[in-house]
Each structure stands twice: as C-alpha cells, then as structure tokens.
C-alpha cells in the first residue's frame, strides 16, 4: 500500500509523458489518413478477387471497368465531373469484401460500388451497401440476390443468374426425351444451376436419369464416374464452377464419358478453358454472358472489343471481365441521366435505363433489379478448328433478352 503511494508521483509524470508522446505520435501518423477533401470527382469502389483462383478473371474485370471509366472521362466525365475507380482486393472472401467495402464507403466516400466475383462475396457487399444506402452494381452470378430476402433497392444485378444461363443452355441442348444425368456441386450456386436446368427440362420434356451431389471444392471426381456411366445418359450436365468444373470435365473425359454422352455445363469460362487443354473441352457446351466472337454479329460488341484491344495491347475481353464494362457503363449512363450522384435519382435512372454497350440491348427489371439481357450458348472448339489462341468457342445460340426466361417477380417473393 505504502509502496503504491510512493510510486504515484513518478508514475504520474511518466504517464503524462506517455500521453504527450502518444498525442504527438497520433497527430503525425494520422495526417496521411485524413479523409480526402470533398472534391466533385465521382468515386466508384471496385472490390474484386485480385488474389486467389479467379485472379485472371478479376484482372480482366478491372481492365474492362477501367476502359468504361476512361471512355466517360474522355468525353468529359459525367456532367463535367471526372470519374475515379478505386480497385480493392477482396481475396474472394466475404469477410474481406465486407471490410474493403466499409473502407470504401467510410474512408474513401465512394458514390457507388461495382464488383465481386462470387455469390458469397456479392451477398456480403450487398449486406453492407444495403444497410448504408449505397448504390451497388453486382457483376457475378447468383439467384439468391434476386430473391426478396436479400433484395436491396440500392443493388442492381448486372450479371446473368443461374436461371438464365442454365435455362438457355438447356433450351439449346435438351430435346424431348433426352436422358440427362446431373453432377452438381453441393452448395448454393450448384443447387441454383440444377434448379435452372430442371425448370427448362420440365418444359422441354427431358428426363433426369440421376443426380449426384459432389462436395464443393473436390479435386477428385473419379469415384462418381462409374455411377454416372451406369446411368447411361445422353447428356452429362455438370453444374459447378471454375476449378471444380475443370477437374470434373477432365476426369469425365478420362473415364470415357464423352464417348457415351455430350457434356453440358451452365457456364464456360475463357480463362478456365485456357487452363485445360482444348482436347478435354472439345464439344463441351455451356452458357456465357459475353464472347469476343460476338463482334461479327453485333456492332456494340465490335466497338467494345476494338476499344479494349486498343487499351490493352491487342488483348480481347473475356466473359467475367466484360461484366466490369457493362456494369460500370450502365451505372455511369444512369448517373449521366440523373445529372449526378444523388442516390434516389440514380436508382430511378437505372430502373428506366435501356443500354447496349457490348452485347445487345439490356435493361434492369423493376422488381428485382435484374439486368434482362441476351445469353450466349457456346461450344468449345476442336483444336484443329481454332484460328488463333483466343479462338476458343463457337457461338451456337444467342438467346435474346426476355423477361420470360426469368423467374417471375411473384415467384421471387415480391408483391404482385
């Protein structure tokens, strides 16, 4: 007790020292982080997984988004205001994405967020933007984000959703009486794809001969192959994504399933096809939002490709990359219409917007803010038929934009 009293005085001084030191330290260190002064630049936050398995897609997204921003800035910006793109690495992790989005909103004071490359990440960003009333244009596939439970009036879903892609592929590949075996990744995205296929199947009258759920993120699919063979399907429909897709197709081919059945997937990815040989993918059919080969049919695709090539040393834009362009362009067009960044006005402008920047006419449906747009059905080319390194697919169908292929608003839980 006495010892404590004796010590108090000296401690007191040293504590003051500490406080002073800390105070000085704080003011010095804090300087660089002070929130930027309010200028009139329009800032768009862009979280995307620059690290991880979809880094190549993410980099393409960034290039496309930067192109859209550059085109607007070259034309004098939105109502004279320059646009700035703030790219952040979300590491394909919802928690990381939520943190980056909070930073973008709280520190960088962005006017809108565009981005994401996975269902989970876009739902995390959606949660943050919804609570804070910030505009968000989501550019990766999900059915969940359309449903009333996750709906945010501030969020616009520019990407396709599983109902659209799986439906388009099914309408092209299935016929009445076709026997279909499903291999499905056992998580939300896989289930959504399966549901999309089965919806279309029911209309067409194709028959399901079997369904196998595989664990999400598995590396070996050999143990599912004997059973898939024994189902004797006409079509093997593989509803998974990225690495899972590459591995499962490769192993299905190894087990000779391609001799027996046609392989169909909901989404074909340019970069994932490059990561696996053309022999493996040959003849595989799948959906896509964009393929550069569209330029021979469509002027807007040609214009987009040319601008992209000019900005990126002749490289062509890829599927998920193109979302960066369509997503940012639609937002900036709406801001132009709204005459600025007032959130309610931009929402109204987006809801009324008709745009065609790369892939034909598109617009956002009022109830769920889903972009109604065309769906491409692609077939992977034989190596001998490829005219160059980027000539990977042929367009076998281009299903035009139509609300009829979407789930109806009432089905999603919105009031009729």
């Amino acid at each position: 007790m006495t010892k404590d009293i004796r010590d108090t005085k000296r401690n007191h001084i040293s504590r003051r020292h500490v406080l002073a030191a800390l105070g000085t330290g704080a003011s010095v260190v804090a300087m660089p982080w002070i929130a930027r002064a309010a200028d009139d630049t329009i800032r768009i936050g862009f979280p995307t997984p620059l690290t991880g398995p979809f880094a190549a897609e993410a980099k393409d997204q960034v290039k496309s988004a930067e192109l859209a921003v550059k085109q607007f800035n070259d034309k004098g910006g939105v109502n004279g205001r320059k646009i700035e793109l703030l790219v952040r690495d979300d590491k394909l992790n919802g928690g990381e994405a939520a943190t980056r989005t909070l930073e973008l909103i709280e520190k960088d004071k962005v006017h809108a967020i565009v981005g994401s490359l996975s269902s989970a990440v876009q739902l995390a960003v959606n949660e943050v933007t919804r609570a804070r009333g910030v505009l968000y244009v989501s550019i990766s596939q999900s059915d969940t984000i359309n449903e009333v439970k996750d709906f945010s009036k501030y969020t616009f879903h520019e990407a396709l959703n599983p109902t659209m892609t799986a439906g388009a592929v099914a309408r092209h590949a299935f016929k009445k009486g076709t026997k279909v075996a499903h291999l499905v990744a056992d998580y939300a995205y896989g289930h959504e794809m399966l549901r999309g296929f089965k919806r279309a199947q029911a209309v067409i009258g194709a028959e399901t001969v079997g369904e196998i759920m595989h664990p999400f993120g598995a590396a070996d699919y050999s143990t599912f192959m004997p059973r898939l063979r024994s189902m004797r399907p006409d079509i093997l429909c593989i509803s998974n994504f990225g690495r899972d897709q590459a591995n499962s197709i490769k192993q299905a081919v190894d087990f000779g399933l391609k001799q027996q059945a046609k392989i169909v997937v909901p989404v074909l990815l340019h970069n994932q096809r490059l990561a696996v040989s053309p022999e493996v993918f040959e003849g595989v059919v799948g959906g896509s939002n964009y393929y550069w080969g569209l330029e021979s049919q469509l002027p807007s695709a040609k214009a987009f490709n040319d601008a992209y090539r000019a900005a990126n040393g002749g490289a062509i834009p890829t599927d998920y990359g193109a979302y960066g362009y369509t997503g940012v362009s639609s937002l900036l067009q709406a801001m132009q219409v709204a005459g600025g960044t007032d959130t309610d006005k931009v929402i109204a402008a987006l809801e009324g917007l008709k745009y065609d920047v790369a892939k034909g006419p598109q617009y956002y449906r009022k109830c769920d803010h889903q972009s109604v747009q065309s769906v491409l059905v692609l077939e992977s080319k034989k190596k001998a038929d490829m005219k160059g390194d980027s000539d990977l697919f042929s367009i076998v169908a281009n299903e035009p934009a139509s609300e009829n292929v979407l789930r109806s608003c009432t089905e999603l839980g919105f009031p009729a």
Partner: protein
C-alpha cells in the same frame, strides 16, 4: 446396388488411395526420421507438378518430367532443409511446422508470379490415354499406370530401408540420433537426404496427379489436408501405416461417394477423428 458397380467403386477407391499413399509417405518419412511436420508438403506437391510440366514441355516428353522433376524438387527440398529447417533442430517441435506453414505461402505465391494464377494444361501422355475394360467396367489406363508406379515406389522404398546400409542408418537414426552420433555417423547428412527423399515423393505425387487434375497454384492445399489425414490415421512416422491408411481412406471415400456423395470429403475427417479418439497414436503409431 449391383455388384459390378461396387467392384468398380472399390477399384476407384484403391486408385485414389494410391495417390494418397505417395503424398502421405513423404510426409510420414520426414516426420518419422526428423520429427518435422512439413506444412509445405502440399505446396511442394504443387511445385512438383509445375516442375514436371516444365521439364516435359522442354524435352517434349512426359517421361522426362516424371523422372527429372522429383529429383529436381528433391534437391530443392534438401536446400530447404539445409537453410531453413536445420537451424530449428533442438527448438520446439512447433517451430518447423510454423516455418513450413509460412514457406507454403511463399511457394504458392512464387508459382503464381512465375506461371500465373490460372493453372496450366497438363495433357495425359498419349501412350496412356483411353480406357481399359476391367470386366466390371471401364477404367482410365493412366490411373492404372499410377497405381503401378506407386506400387513400384513402395517396393523400392521398402528394399532401400530394409536391405541397404543406408536404410539401416536411417532406421537407427530415427530411433536414437544421439547414439548414432556417438557411433560416428554424420546424422545431419542422413537428415538432409531423408528430407530430400520426402519432398521428392511429394513432387512425384504432383507430377503423377498432373494429368488427372488441373494443375494450378492452389492444388496443394487439398492434398495437404488429405495427406495429414492419412498419416495421422496410419500413425505419424509409420510407413506401413501410411500405406494402409492411404488405401483405407481411398476406399472409404469411394464407398461414401456411392451412397452419400455429398459426404465424400467430410467422411475423411470424421474417420480421422474417430480413429484418434479410439487410438490417439493412430493405427500403427507408437505412443510418444
């Protein structure tokens, strides 16, 4: 469920187990002799696949890749032991584990920088493509080849450890390193070679897996988890344990895939938890 399918499934399980065996063996050898838990094993498996691909593309032949890459990466492994692991002997058993954990980040990111993050195609050698009729169903020739290679490696390893002088030193060193030093054996040289051997086995697994799976920087993460599960079930440091547990895990996964496919991954961890709770040292392990 017909018997043909169950037999096919059994065979798929054994073939899957073969890959598990080869990666688990490397992990187990390193732990058994050096007491080091190598968390970079999966990353080295992945580096091996890339090295195999690289050598194969230089020489135009898969066979050179299969032969040279494991030796190359094995030597790289020795360098790792010499530079990074050696200073940690005598410290806590956790230290090498933590170091290799950090190392795996470096290796994965290094490969991303050199080869890109997307993955690279690794075609099956043309002489081994296609399927063969096993009587109960069709099976890829390449996978049968893998089973053969693993069998060969296991036999060579057994001969090397049981029938040679080097093997004798290794086994004795694992049991009592101090005694070996007293007897004038340069035990650090033995450890160097053993670490290189373990890493070489990992990269051999990587090259063999290349044509079956897509080759990408993250391919090692799953393999690491699988290899751990197998070695722990078999008993850390027990080579026989790794072999039997590898085949067991393969067959269990395969049978689960038949009856409850969505459980095919989780079953492995459940099996490990059960084994450890009943027999904490693993099936063939000795109590510490």
């Amino acid at each position: 469920m017909d018997t043909e399918l169950i037999l096919m499934q059994l065979f798929s399980g054994v073939a899957l187990g073969a890959i598990l065996v080869i990666t688990a063996l490397g992990l187990s050898i390193i732990f058994g002799m050096l007491g080091v838990v190598n968390f970079a094993h999966g990353a080295l498996f992945m580096v091996g696949a890339y090295a195999g691909l690289w050598v194969a593309s230089l020489t135009g032949s898969f066979w050179w890749g299969l032969l040279v890459a494991p030796i190359m990466i094995g030597v790289f492994g020795m360098a790792i032991e010499y530079v990074l692991i050696r200073p940690l002997y005598g410290r806590s058993i956790d230290d090498p584990l933590l170091l290799t954990f950090g190392l795996s980040y470096v290796l994965v990111e290094g490969v991303r920088i050199v080869f890109g993050s997307d993955g690279i195609p690794f075609p099956t050698p043309s002489s081994l493509t296609g399927v063969v009729d096993l009587g109960v169903g069709f099976f890829p020739i390449y996978r049968i080849f893998v089973v053969g290679v693993v069998f060969l490696v296991v036999v060579l390893l057994w001969l090397g450890l049981e029938k040679t002088k080097f093997g004798l030193i290794v086994r004795a060193g694992a049991r009592d390193p101090t005694m070996m030093k007293v007897l004038g054996v340069d035990i650090s040289k033995v450890w160097l070679l053993v670490f290189g051997l373990g890493v070489g086995l990992a990269s051999l697994g990587g090259v063999l897996s290349g044509p079956m799976r897509s080759v990408n920087p993250e391919m090692g993460a799953l393999v690491l988890a699988e290899a751990f599960v197998v070695t722990v079930i078999g008993g850390l440091g027990s080579l026989v344990g790794s072999i039997i547990a590898g085949l067991l895990v393969g067959v269990v996964i395969s049978m689960t895939a038949l009856f409850a496919p969505e459980m095919a991954t989780i079953v492995m961890f459940a099996l490990m938890a059960i084994v450890l709770l009943i027999r904490p040292q693993g099936l063939f392990g000795k109590l510490a």
